[in-house]
């Protein structure tokens, strides 16, 4: 029988640093809730707004698969691998931190807030060679469709990571209904509502709510508002 965990958006950890307004679905930085440590290998789901011209100075990471999804505005990235790039809505960025990488992330505009989701997964292999990737997707292909944005396979759609995980994004019309088939036995799905209202296997979710479902192979969706945006993270449940 399917099991689930519901995280209402309003119950997330919150840190307002002035220039950075962050909401944490799972324990992060000074927000600690032993009941909110991870969903399978999904360890971090941060919903950040960064003021114009501001950002995170150079800082290190290791042994994490880090995915950044810009929702609005532009994010400038520089790292110790020599990458210098700007990502914006429609792009997906991935960094396998592996043995260690240093990077900085700044709002790419002086006068516009950048909003983004940053997601960290535990890798399935420690101490890999650090790598950076980004891709620009055709967002029209996610209309009433879960468009795959990430997988474990470099030859599959989207970016790839060192984990048996698949991410998808979709924007759906009101009253549209669809199913999602979990990609691998033992995986669960964490659904995060970016915007709108959706009923997932009987659970009604609103903007910024999250629902984790596991011990099932198929999930049903009914979208309750126009232009409902949902991110699905299909991840191994076993650490």
């Amino acid at each position: 029988m399917a099991q689930f965990v519901l995280h209402k958006g309003s119950t997330r950890g919150h840190a307002n640093h002035g220039w950075l307004n962050a909401h944490h679905t799972f324990s992060f930085a000074n927000y600690h809730d032993p009941e909110r440590m991870h969903f399978g290998v999904l360890r971090v789901l941060n919903d950040d707004s960064i003021d114009g011209g501001m950002g995170f100075g150079t800082h290190p990471h290791d042994n994490m698969e880090i995915i950044t999804i810009p929702l609005e505005g532009a994010l400038a990235h520089k790292d110790s691998l020599g990458t210098s790039s700007v990502i914006q809505h429609g792009d997906i960025q991935v960094m396998s931190a592996g043995t260690g990488v240093q990077h900085s992330e700044f709002n790419g505009n002086a006068d516009q807030t950048v909003k983004l989701l940053q997601i960290w997964l535990f890798p399935n292999k420690k101490n890999v060679t650090p790598r950076y990737g980004q891709i620009t997707l055709d967002i029209t292909k996610r209309h009433n469709n879960f468009q795959q944005i990430l997988s474990p396979d470099p030859d599959d759609a989207g970016v790839w990571i060192h984990q048996d995980a698949w991410f998808s994004l979709g924007t759906f019309d009101e009253n549209f209904e669809t199913d999602y088939q979990i990609k691998k036995q033992g995986n669960g799905v964490y659904a995060f509502v970016i915007k709108g209202s959706v009923t997932i296997d009987g659970h009604e979710l609103s903007t910024r709510d999250g629902l984790g479902i596991w011990d099932t192979d198929k999930i049903s969706f009914k979208f309750n508002t126009p232009d409902t945006e949902v991110l699905l993270m299909d991840v191994p449940m076993k650490l």
Binding site: P34, D62, M64
Partner: protein, 103 residues
């Protein structure tokens, strides 16, 4: 709460230096760090360490040897893996280690 002495062992010097700064930035923690396993063993022998964080770049073989060496010196020592190389997960990992034993 008593001040916890936490030893971080990693291979990347820059990350190890960052971890030293992060651990010592909090009043309730005292951080000591090294990139060398032999030094880690001496530190655990000579200093009261509450927790060891294993960081980046330690191979599976080296980790097994290091864990065995540390436990030989201090059988009840808490040893956990630190992920992320920065401040994001550090607090949660340390909190979980002392509430749950081992993550």
């Amino acid at each position: 709460m008593k001040k916890l002495t936490i030893l971080y062992v990693g291979r990347n010097q820059e990350i190890t230096d960052t971890m030293n700064r992060l651990l010592n930035a909090r009043e309730e923690w005292k951080g000591i760090t090294t990139c060398l396993d032999e030094e880690a063993l001496v530190m655990v022998k000579d200093t009261h360490i509450d927790l060891v964080l294993l960081g980046n770049g330690i191979s599976a073989v080296a980790e097994e040897k290091l864990r065995a060496g540390l436990i030989r010196v201090r059988p009840a020592l808490k040893i956990i893996q630190h992920y992320g190389g920065g401040s994001g997960l550090l607090y949660g990992e340390i909190m979980a280690a002392f509430r749950l034993g081992v993550i």
